[in-house]
Subunit: 157 residues, 4 copies
């Protein structure tokens, strides 16, 4: 059982979050595969049971590179039903688009027929941070990874 | 295993959809419990493993009654993590808010920590119809119910 | 020229924001009319050239009372085209639904055919705060009020 | 006074919509400038008083090319406050993401501080069509163009 984590990052903030997400997936007993969006092909998705997307917030939405990655995944459309998904985003400020970015990432995953889970304790739609992720943001990332990992295990039983 | 379907309806359109959702839940081998929002209490939610919300589209969002129901569910906040959720909406026209209503319903479910699944074949975020639901809309409702029912079964194994 | 500010508030946080929005409207040279949602009727909307909605964040969306107010405004549907709108929200934590609440408020205003303006400097979609509004949140509220007030003046010339 | 219409299109459906939007802008007495996203630079935006974005629906959101165009516009961030914006989208089916695409386009415009107007009569958030645009979708496009054109004129008085 493997979860693919695809992220974009220019300042390194989203990358730090990605590593915390990776830790969470591991903690759930599932293998994380971490890839920068520049170094991943959509052909790698089918070998995984989960897909977590992470992006900096650009104009309230995921970066064009993350969008391009998902646009290209159309060649597998219909093959990812029931796969587990998750989202995280790194913003430059509070209330500057982290939530709308995560909602957008989730929308792409839902169009693929994926399963996503919210959180009742903060960062409800996915993990978010402002600037360099603080302890609380990193904890939200770990919990996201763990949540996705556990769902993968529960759904594959 | 039971799934609670809570809907609001004034013209009867959302109610027709609710019955199709009910059929889908049954088809998955799970017991559906169908309730108009006027006849349900939040105290009934904890006896179920799934919650599906249906609403007419009023100003691009769920009706205030559906919102009130969820606002009142705050007394159980944190107790519904991992419950399975789903959403459907009935609009007066095409592109008049069915999608934004379903996204809003899903957001409420995610804040409760619930699990939702998209669909790769049409009505991606939940089931939608325009006016009295046609065959294709009713089929989307049945598939939604079945999807939620199957997830409930898979996650409870 | 008058702008109606309708807000819901239980802890007083959204109310504090409402007063800062009021100050901003005044600064633009337009008369603000501030009303708690419990003390306003939809019949008051037509006497104004702007409508600003404020809400606490409940389950990622506006409170059911704000939703009920707008649902009832359907009796004037089509009469508010070109009116100026704006939104603000008070959340319990960061990334717990302030943005999705503001987006939802904006959606209701757009369905009424209203004009809204974003901000390029923080709190892009409307004014948001976490807990009791700090100076930066209050400044965002003042700017929101001023922005709406200025638009009202510019569009009525 | 000029309005820039930037669209992406592979099947030609969004392009047909773009031409109808163009007609609407003209009808308002403002000059439309129509550009495929492959043939436009962000350096052209500042010469216009309005910006209308059109996109096919890919995974519930604008195409990556439209996203890239806006991501690149960051070099002018803060310069477009008060510019008039508008959005349209072409989907492959009903309730398959046209609304979420338009909401996303609007979010990008709002982050730039732009002014957008909804419509109280159908296609509330922007103009949408399913497949090749029918008469009603083309009319929504013309009205969108006219609405943006009129706002440009009213705000520049």
């Amino acid at each position: 059982m493997k979860v693919l984590i695809v992220y974009d990052s220019s300042t390194g903030n989203t990358e730090k979050m990605a590593h915390a997400v990776e830790d969470g997936v591991k903690k759930a007993g599932v293998e994380p595969v971490l890839k920068h969006v520049d170094e991943v092909s959509v052909d790698e998705i089918p070998q995984h049971q989960g897909l977590i997307l992470g992006s900096p917030v650009y104009y309230g939405l995921p970066s064009w590179k993350i969008k391009k990655f998902i646009d290209e995944s159309v060649k597998y459309h219909g093959k990812f039903d029931g796969m587990v998904g998750g989202s995280f985003a790194s913003a430059g400020g509070t209330h500057t688009g982290a939530e709308t970015t995560i909602i957008a990432l989730n929308e792409m995953l839902l169009v693929h027929g994926m399963v996503i889970q919210g959180s009742s304790s903060g960062s409800h739609y996915g993990a978010a941070s402002v600037g360099s992720p603080n302890d609380s943001a990193l904890e939200a990332c770990r919990k996201l990874g763990e949540r996705v990992g556990r769902l993968v295990k529960n759904l594959k039983k």
